[in-house]
Symmetry: C2
Subunit: 296 residues, 2 copies
């Protein structure tokens, strides 16, 4: 069965960009955007993604559904699709591409498989895919046939094996480095500002940790608009590490940091506001101010 129609759940920042790539390579791309934000509906429209009114129609028309959501929504979305799948009795491949713990992915596999769907554990490493070089789509599962076809439509697909959980595991470990380091950097710079040693610390970093400091300057200012949805991702990684017997605290603390940033007005910006993002110094100064207000 050739791949013709892909359903995207949901066409947010990542989802609509993936849909746009698939559209650009000749696939039909559909989404059910009911209950989604106005912004998500506009993003879908801009990507040429066809709206369908119900999950039932999404399931009936799709050969493959890609679930691309915030972690907290992954299970409820799978349950909705499983319900629609039970009603339509169609064939469907459901790929959960979310940043969730492998033990949670195995639960979602159970939900989809029980409804007769073919489940794929997938994960996305890299930014929303502007080109094939920027972003990898890892996948694991017993039957990766349909999912692998995506590599003919502009995506870089990397199979990891038959075991459900492998694709999620690599995402958890990878994101713990990039987003964990960003959380740690944000915390220590905010602490330094509160303690009155920002200037001296900056000079010391430029002297002895210039690569890490340049990374902070490059990556921190664009983080606040993403901070709220990273809270759940950090909690999933924390649960993943705890499940193998390691400490959950580092990543639980990273979740705390994104909660703290998410509570500040900096988090009200969106990627469309990129030109008005603060500099690193402005951002840290605003967070230290936010901290003073919280303590007061």
């Amino acid at each position: 069965m050739p791949l013709r129609t892909v359903g995207i759940l949901s066409p947010g920042d990542m989802g609509h960009t993936v849909g746009k790539v698939l559209r650009g390579h000749g696939l039909n791309v559909i989404a059910c955007t009911q209950g989604r934000s106005r912004r998500t509906q506009l993003l879908a429209q801009s990507a040429g993604i066809k709206p369908v009114p119900t999950y039932r129609q999404l399931v009936a028309e799709s050969d493959l559904i890609l679930s691309i959501l915030v972690p907290a929504q992954a299970k409820a979305a799978a349950e909705s699709i499983a319900e629609a799948l039970g009603e339509t009795k169609t064939e469907l491949v459901y790929a959960d591409c979310n940043a969730i713990a492998p033990q949670t992915v195995r639960e979602i596999d159970g939900i989809i498989s029980a409804a007769g769907g073919n489940f794929v554990d997938a994960s996305i490493i890299g930014p929303p895919p502007k080109n094939k070089e920027s972003t990898r789509f890892y996948a694991s599962g017993g039957d990766l046939g349909i999912f692998r076809e995506l590599s003919e439509f502009g995506l870089d697909i990397r199979p990891l094996g038959a075991e459900i959980g492998l694709a999620s595991s690599i995402k958890m470990c990878y994101a713990s480095l990039t987003k964990g380091l960003t959380a740690l950097s944000t915390e220590l710079l905010t602490a330094a500002e509160s303690l009155g040693v920002s200037g001296a610390l900056r000079s010391e970093f430029k002297l002895s940790q210039s690569a890490l400091y340049e990374r902070m300057q490059r990556s921190l200012p664009s983080m606040p608009p993403k901070s709220r949805r990273w809270i759940g991702e950090m909690e999933e990684i924390s649960a993943t590490f705890e499940h193998v017997g390691l400490t959950p605290k580092i990543l639980a603390g990273a979740a705390d940091m994104y909660r703290f940033v998410g509570d500040s007005h900096l988090a009200d910006l969106t990627p469309e506001d990129a030109e008005s993002y603060p500099t690193l110094e402005e951002m840290i100064s605003a967070l230290a101010e936010h901290l003073r207000k919280q303590d007061a």
Copy 2:
């Protein structure tokens, strides 16, 4: 009063190297090594540090005492010196150079000042100082005169101001980056090994996070011999961040990681064993094995 004699508490890895630099620049350097390990006594001897039998004699002969210890010993050491100072009624500058929270440093200031000593908050950033370029000695306090003279004897001294706590604060924030990142890296690589995605993760890191991965390869294998003494340092940073109103969890988790590594046989090596340090892959494989045994 010109600086002539410096007392070192205690001449371990960092302390004996500092003493050696000061000796090499013509100062008398003394230490009371009673109750210290045989290794520390040998390190002191190799650095030309003169042993004295009691804290009382250390206080009587020193113009300046540098406290360079594991964090947990900093307060008890200051109490011993304060007691000896009360008995000898001499003039003394006491610089606490340890990696401890600013609120703890202020307590130690109280202990030394009450005994008539002149307290300096100091911190050391960089490896044991082989040369003046490698390592900075930050200092804060009301009278930095004697401490600043160390810059004429081979050390890079950087005054930060009059407030006790500033020198400790920069150390806390700096070490949270370097040792926090090392803890996070160790955790995620060990988790990846346990989850069966080590090889794929390594390839992904080489592709998209090569600078951070090279840092892991360079810095992780020499960490286990230092892991046990880093536990207390992570706890001090955790307390520092909590004190300003930020999450204590990231660094509390880093302490957990160093406790985990410190429990493994890898931590039995010393810097003298540098030639038999494992590669990064060997180290992570040993830690994953250590984790399996713990869980069993």
